[in-house]
């Protein structure tokens, strides 16, 4: 445990936070962050990590409990006060105004102004530029944030904190969206800040990272702090056990340790004599306002009984690829075949006869929160499943729909008051189960999954992973897009890496490992001398 005496410490005692109506997110949490340390907080999804930090940062107010910063008791009604007390936070989901420039984003909320209230652009620019220099952040002050890469945007977030010269930096899952290489770069920066005397609170699901960087580690479970220990002689297994409260077999899924992987991953499917259920040929697409094509001659195929993963740093075309396959957008060129049929120009509904799809964003495309589970579960089925509608009229049969929903609830063990409950009343995990259940109960050969477990807790993810493997064993072909490298490594038979709209590399599941895939995601060749293009993009073999 480091004993640098500098930077304020933070002590939070018996903090209670209940989210309306009755989510006990923090249950009398006591935590002590010693001055000038790097303190990691780990825990399953929903353990309360972010909430605890939001309380510390004054975004949400605790229902009970005390906070001390540098020995002085404080109560933050707003982040403004927290910042004044020298506390800053980089959020799990980046908090930036896409259309604003870097410097505008940095100064927002703490703008230098003339007495007329005009923002002093020049002054701000200079100040921000200076900080960029000092910490070697390599950012263009007047670039539009929306155009920056995720990792660059994260730098902007850190820049915000440095601009406010905070002494306590809260980093909530900063590495979730980063490649291993970017993560390494971030760690260098964090250490620099730390040795500069700043206290750092670091949240991550990646135990290896945590063990790598922390002085102290706090483990949380279901809103409680279960332990705090100096980072000495700990193994991932110890942490994992503390997190989940039992020995973790599925830690492979969360951790992506090569050793565990191969034992974990089910046996390779029989050599693909099966006809492909999805063929994408030379797909290209450009979007107005974006310079380079978002999809650039992408070709791939998925065969029955295999899980093909799509890896890539966000914004490298995965999203558009999925949209093109589901029919949400029309590609400029190239063709899409499902089970041999060309569906390039086909409507969404006609594609749905051949594929099902779990969308990335629950709220946007997964369901309608205000509507009942019945209404949410019959989507698409309402036209494709004869049993739901009466033979003669175009009317739906309420009873049939209810039964269908009830069956789905049972089959996917959804925790809900009943088919009439509104989707929004369910917990995130259960909402996802409803959606997955709805899609998986289509009897089609192609299963499209876009980040199916994003933001889900371990239990739910485990369940959904099992469902995916089940589909594979039934001989369906799965295309799994995920930002979670570990998920891909543990589930996929093949991993395709996308970079700048192109297929940058393809790995057989067995030979894939975090490092090589990570390099490919950054557009670096896997090894010296081999550029990403030269990597075998051999989909139609």
């Amino acid at each position: 445990m480091s004993t640098k005496i500098s930077g304020p410490g933070v002590r939070m005692s018996s903090v209670v936070k209940v989210y309306p109506p009755d989510v006990l997110a923090l249950d009398n949490v006591d935590i002590c962050i010693s001055p000038g340390s790097i303190h990691s907080i780990i825990g399953e999804n929903g353990a309360g990590k972010s909430t605890l930090m939001k309380v510390l940062y004054g975004i949400t107010q605790a229902n009970a409990g005390h906070i001390e910063v540098g020995g002085k008791p404080v109560r933050f009604a707003s982040p403004r006060q927290a910042v004044r007390a020298g506390i800053g936070m980089v959020h799990q989901e980046l908090m930036l105004i896409p259309s604003y420039t870097v410097w505008e984003n940095v100064v927002l909320g703490a703008e230098p102004v003339t007495y007329l209230g005009r923002v002093k652009g020049e002054a701000a620019l200079a100040r921000v530029g200076e900080i960029i220099e000092r910490w070697g952040l390599k950012l263009d002050c007047s670039a539009i944030v929306g155009d920056l890469s995720i990792s660059a945007q994260q730098k902007v977030e850190i820049l915000k904190l440095l601009y406010r010269d905070v002494q306590v930096l809260i980093m909530d899952e900063p590495t979730a969206v980063l490649t291993p290489q970017e993560t390494a770069e971030l760690f260098v920066r964090l250490r620099a800040l730390n040795s500069d005397g700043r206290t750092i609170i670091f949240i991550s699901h990646r135990l290896s990272e945590v063990l790598d960087i922390s002085d102290e580690i706090t483990v949380m479970r279901r809103g409680r702090r279960v332990m705090t220990t100096p980072n000495r002689g700990l193994s991932r297994a110890d942490l994992a056990r503390a997190m989940v409260g039992r020995d973790v077999v599925f830690s492979a899924v969360r951790e992506g340790d090569a050793a565990l992987d191969s034992s974990q991953r089910p046996p390779q499917p029989s050599p693909p004599t099966v006809p492909p259920c999805l063929e994408v040929r030379g797909l290209s697409m450009t979007v107005r306002g974006r310079g380079r094509p978002v999809l650039d001659d992408v070709s791939l195929e998925v065969r029955g009984g295999e899980i093909v993963g799509i890896a890539g740093v966000e914004g490298n075309g995965q999203f558009e690829l999925v949209q093109a396959i589901t029919g949400a957008v029309k590609p400029d060129s190239g063709s899409i075949l499902m089970s041999g049929q060309d569906v390039t120009g086909a409507s969404v509904m006609s594609r749905r006869r051949l594929m099902c799809s779990v969308p990335q964003d629950r709220k946007l495309a997964g369901g309608a929160g205000a509507m009942s589970l019945v209404d949410n579960s019959i989507m698409t089925h309402h036209r494709l499943r004869p049993s739901l509608s009466s033979k003669l009229t175009p009317l739906l049969l309420p009873r049939a729909c209810r039964d269908f929903c009830a069956r789905l609830i049972a089959e996917y063990s959804v925790v809900a008051s009943g088919p009439d409950a509104a989707l929004s009343q369910l917990s995130g995990g259960n909402q996802q189960k409803v959606i997955v259940g709805r899609e998986f109960s289509h009897d089609v050969d192609l299963v499209l999954l876009d980040n199916p477990t994003r933001g889900l807790d371990v239990g739910s993810s485990e369940f959904i992973h099992a469902q995916i493997l089940k589909k594979r064993s039934e001989g369906k072909g799965c295309l799994l897009v995920s930002a979670d490298l570990d998920e891909l490594l543990s589930l996929c038979d093949r991993i395709i890496v996308m970079y700048e709209g192109r297929v940058a590399a393809e790995f057989a599941g067995s030979e894939a490992d975090r490092d090589s895939v990570g390099r490919a995601m950054l557009g670096l060749g896997p090894g010296p001398g081999r550029g990403p293009e030269s990597e075998g993009v051999t989909s139609g073999r």
């Binding site: 403004r80 936070m89 105004i97 604003y100 505008e104 909320g109 102004v113």
Partner: protein, 290 residues
């Protein structure tokens, strides 16, 4: 000779007719950037027009009238804030209800306070002073609010683009969460934008009842709030664009009646400004595509 007079009168009339639309729309620009769907402008304007007359009548002073008009607009805005921001009621609903409340309320109050229906006019109502600025026959000698409106437009352009307030306002509209995280309450910014638009709609109302004419008549705002909204949406909230739009509206509005001279039935000529708006929308949609 008479023709040129008529032309001048038309332009003059269009300036007069444009002003209330402009005032309201500039206020609406604030809510537009704060991403508040503000369809209550019609009602705010109407209330402003009424309270302005009340103030001017009882205090025998246009200044008090003006203040009262603004106050009226602010009260309506406060109601909007209470429901749409504080109680999280849907903005469209709140707006529609406030419009309805304004129509019913002013008519009702007209009855209660002055015992008349339809309209209230009296020599005791003090009109806004006219400024005989040497701006020629078209721009000279208008109620001073006309000139104020121009100044306010430029001011708003600067305020929204350049100042801290504007920066936070636009942030609140684009991504409230981020603004909150930056320690500025996005709800507060929304509330401010609504209050500002309320004040300006109040001005617009005062202009109608103390400047344009010197009386209050039921449903006096008469759809101008809607036109303002259209102007805002068309110009994506840019005050200068709004200026152009509202002048165009004023011109077509006046032109409608003079076309009667050309033998076109009155009922049809009244449609002109609205048809023009549709045309503008079409042109805008064209520009959007390219």
């Amino acid at each position: 000779m008479a023709a040129t007079d008529l032309a001048i009168e038309l332009l003059r009339a269009s300036v007069l007719a444009a002003t209330p639309v402009l005032l309201a729309a500039v206020g609406g620009a604030y809510t537009y950037f704060a991403n508040v769907f503000n369809i209550a402008m019609e009602g705010m304007m109407l209330i402003g027009a009424f309270t302005a007359v009340v103030g001017s009548y009882f205090a025998r002073s246009w200044a008090v009238g003006l203040a009262a008009g603004v106050a009226g607009g602010l009260v309506a805005a406060a109601l909007f804030v209470l429901f749409a921001v504080a109680l999280r009621t849907d903005e469209f609903v709140t707006g529609t209800a406030i419009n309805m409340l304004a129509l019913g309320g002013t008519t009702y109050a007209l009855r209660q306070m002055f015992g008349v229906r339809g309209a209230f006019m009296s020599s005791q109502i003090r009109a806004l002073p006219r400024w005989d600025l040497p701006f020629g026959p078209v721009l000279g000698g208008h109620p001073f609010l006309v000139y104020m409106a121009l100044v306010l437009t430029l001011l708003a352009e600067w305020h929204i683009r350049r100042t801290r307030f504007g920066m936070r306002l636009r942030a609140a509209g684009e991504d409230p969460k981020t603004l909150d995280a930056a320690g500025v309450s996005s709800s507060a910014m929304k509330a401010w934008s609504i209050m500002i638009s309320g004040a300006l709609c109040g001005l617009a109302g005062a202009y109608l009842s103390l400047g344009y004419v010197r009386l209050f008549s039921e449903n006096m705002s008469n759809g101008r709030g809607w036109i303002s909204l259209a102007a805002i949406i068309l110009t994506r909230g840019r005050p200068l664009g709004i200026l152009v739009m509202s002048l165009a509206f004023g011109l077509f509005d006046g032109m409608g009646m003079s076309l009667q001279g050309a033998g076109i039935p009155a009922q049809l000529t009244q449609m002109l400004p609205y048809v023009a708006t549709l045309a503008a929308l079409r042109i805008y949609s064209l520009r959007q595509k390219l």
